[in-house]
Every structure is written in structure tokens, then in C-alpha cells.
């Protein structure tokens, strides 16, 4: 597992107040929304803020989020490719 994967899990737990979860509870390929981690639409908006704040990526089309936020793996791949910080 890359540092970015762990870093993402940590910030997701912190930013989304998943207080009852730990890094080891989140699988890299687990769905973040729906039947996986069970995140909701406000979490998705907060993840958009996280991308901008931590990695300097501004999502212009909110529909992009669906694919990017599929799992930790897809998020990490997108960040590697687009990060400006």
C-alpha cells in the first residue's frame, strides 16, 4: 500500500468524521459509496474540497466525482495524475 493510499484513508476518516473507523478498516478497492463504506452526497462534496485543499485539484464537473470517488484506488490514481501539490 502506497503512502498516498494510507494518507487518503487517514484524511477521509478525519474529514468525514468516521470516528468509529480505522485505516485498516478501509480496503483499497472497497466502494466508498453505497453498499461499501456508505458515504453520502455531503461526503462526496467534502471529498471535492479535500482534493482541492490537499492536492490542488479543482473538479469543474461534479459528475466526474462518481468515477474518481469509486474507491481509494481510483482516488489515488486520479490524484497521482492530476495533483499540483
Amino acid at each position: 500500500m502506497s503512502d498516498l493510499h494510507t494518507e487518503l484513508k487517514k484524511s477521509i476518516i478525519e474529514q468525514l468524521n468516521l470516528e468509529d473507523m480505522e485505516v485498516s478498516d478501509i480496503e483499497n478497492d472497497e466502494h466508498l459509496f453505497g453498499d461499501g463504506l456508505g458515504l453520502d452526497s455531503i461526503d462526496a462534496l467534502e471529498l471535492i474540497v479535500l482534493l482541492e485543499k490537499d492536492y490542488g485539484i479543482k473538479l469543474t464537473d461534479p459528475n466526474q466525482g462518481k468515477e474518481i470517488f469509486n474507491s481509494i484506488n481510483t482516488m489515488a490514481a486520479f490524484i497521482e495524475k492530476n495533483r499540483t501539490r
Binding site: 474529514q15 468525514l16 468524521n17 468516521l18 470516528e19 468509529d20 456508505g38 455531503i42 461526503d43 462534496l45 467534502e46 474540497v49 482541492e52 485543499k53
Partner: protein, 200 residues
């Protein structure tokens, strides 16, 4: 107007939790609010991950309702009447701080006091009547007038009422149930007595 009755009541105040006048929990007075809320959650053995996502105002309302109802509201038409003095000001201030850098959607959503009614409705699956009032301080007469009219117009047969105030981490929570039968008459005087017990 129909005679209404107060069933159970809950107070969360000064690091203490009381139900129907009985002390359920007591924590050190100087305990941080966030810790106190978490301790109540644990002590009551609640399993509701959404709790951690709520702002503190909603946490106070949610916990109060769990303790008041033992986690079960039988009548799905139970109306919710809540009020406080500071609205959502504590979360407003936190959101305003986030505006300096990146406005936070998960804070913004809690910048309305009636979100706590939404949280209780979701938790107990209530498609019922809701209202949130703001007064300078606890106004028993207004609760009595509004709730009595709702009952007399046949809009509901049960109500869950609450005063849930929070600002600068100072909190004051008083919840009570109103029904067509029960122990204590629902009137201004009795309500005031329950809100400010003299033996405390």
C-alpha cells in the same frame, strides 16, 4: 381544549444526564463537551455511525431523544417541536471559519437548527410534523399554546418536544413527551417545574 399530559422528561445539563428526575449519568463538570457526548453515546451502548457526523447541536438532540424514548418511538405520527436560543450559531461560527480557506459543505449543512429535527426524523423514520422556534430563553407558555392547538386540530396524538441550546460549548437540553394520557398535566407551571427543578 383537550387535556394533555407530560410523560417522560430528560435533562442534559452540567455534565449530568437525568431522566424523570433520576440521575442516569454524571461526569466531571470540567469535561469537554465532545468527550461528554461521546461518553453518553458509549454508556447508552448506541450503535448509530451517523452520530459521529452530526454537529454538536444535533448530537445533543439525538442523544436526548434516545434517552427519552429508550430508542423507540411507537407512534410514527409523533410531532417534533423544538426550540432554543442560539439557533445553530456554534456551527455557523465553525462554518464561517472554514470560509476563510475552503467552505465546508458538511459544516454548512448544519447551519440550520431544524437539521436536528431531520436527524431525529431519519433515526426514527418519522414523516411527522416539525417546527423549530427561537426564543431568548425557555418559553413554556409558547410551547403549551402551540402544541395544544396542534393536538386540538387533530394533527397529532403524540409529541416530542425539546429545548436544545448550545453556544460556546455551553449546553442546555430538556426533552419531554406529550400524550393524551400520562402522569403530569401539560401546562406552563408543570413544564417550568420540570425544566428548572428546585431540588437541583
Amino acid at each position: 381544549m383537550k387535556q394533555l399530559f407530560i410523560r417522560n422528561s430528560v435533562l442534559i445539563r452540567n455534565s449530568k444526564v437525568l431522566k424523570n428526575g433520576q440521575l442516569l449519568m454524571q461526569e466531571p463538570e470540567d469535561l469537554q463537551l465532545s468527550k461528554f457526548l461521546k461518553n453518553i453515546y458509549k454508556e447508552r451502548k448506541l450503535k448509530y455511525p451517523k452520530f459521529f457526523k452530526m454537529d454538536r447541536l444535533s448530537k445533543l438532540g439525538y442523544l436526548g431523544a434516545e434517552i427519552l424514548t429508550n430508542g423507540q418511538i411507537e407512534d410514527e405520527n409523533t410531532a417534533l417541536f423544538f426550540a432554543n436560543s442560539a439557533s445553530s450559531l456554534q456551527t455557523d461560527e465553525a462554518y464561517a471559519e472554514s470560509m476563510e480557506e475552503f467552505p465546508s459543505p458538511s459544516l454548512f449543512v448544519y447551519t440550520l437548527p431544524n437539521i436536528l429535527l431531520g436527524e431525529i426524523s431519519i433515526r426514527h423514520r418519522l414523516n411527522s410534523e416539525n417546527i423549530f422556534f427561537v426564543f431568548q430563553d425557555f418559553d413554556a407558555g409558547l410551547f403549551v399554546d402551540y402544541v395544544s392547538t396542534l393536538f386540538s386540530q387533530g394533527k397529532t396524538e403524540n409529541a416530542l418536544c425539546g429545548w436544545v441550546n448550545l453556544h460556546n460549548n455551553d449546553y442546555d437540553v430538556f426533552l419531554w413527551e406529550i400524550a393524551l394520557s400520562g402522569g403530569i398535566d401539560f401546562n406552563e407551571e408543570e413544564l417550568k417545574k420540570l425544566y428548572l427543578p428546585t431540588h437541583e
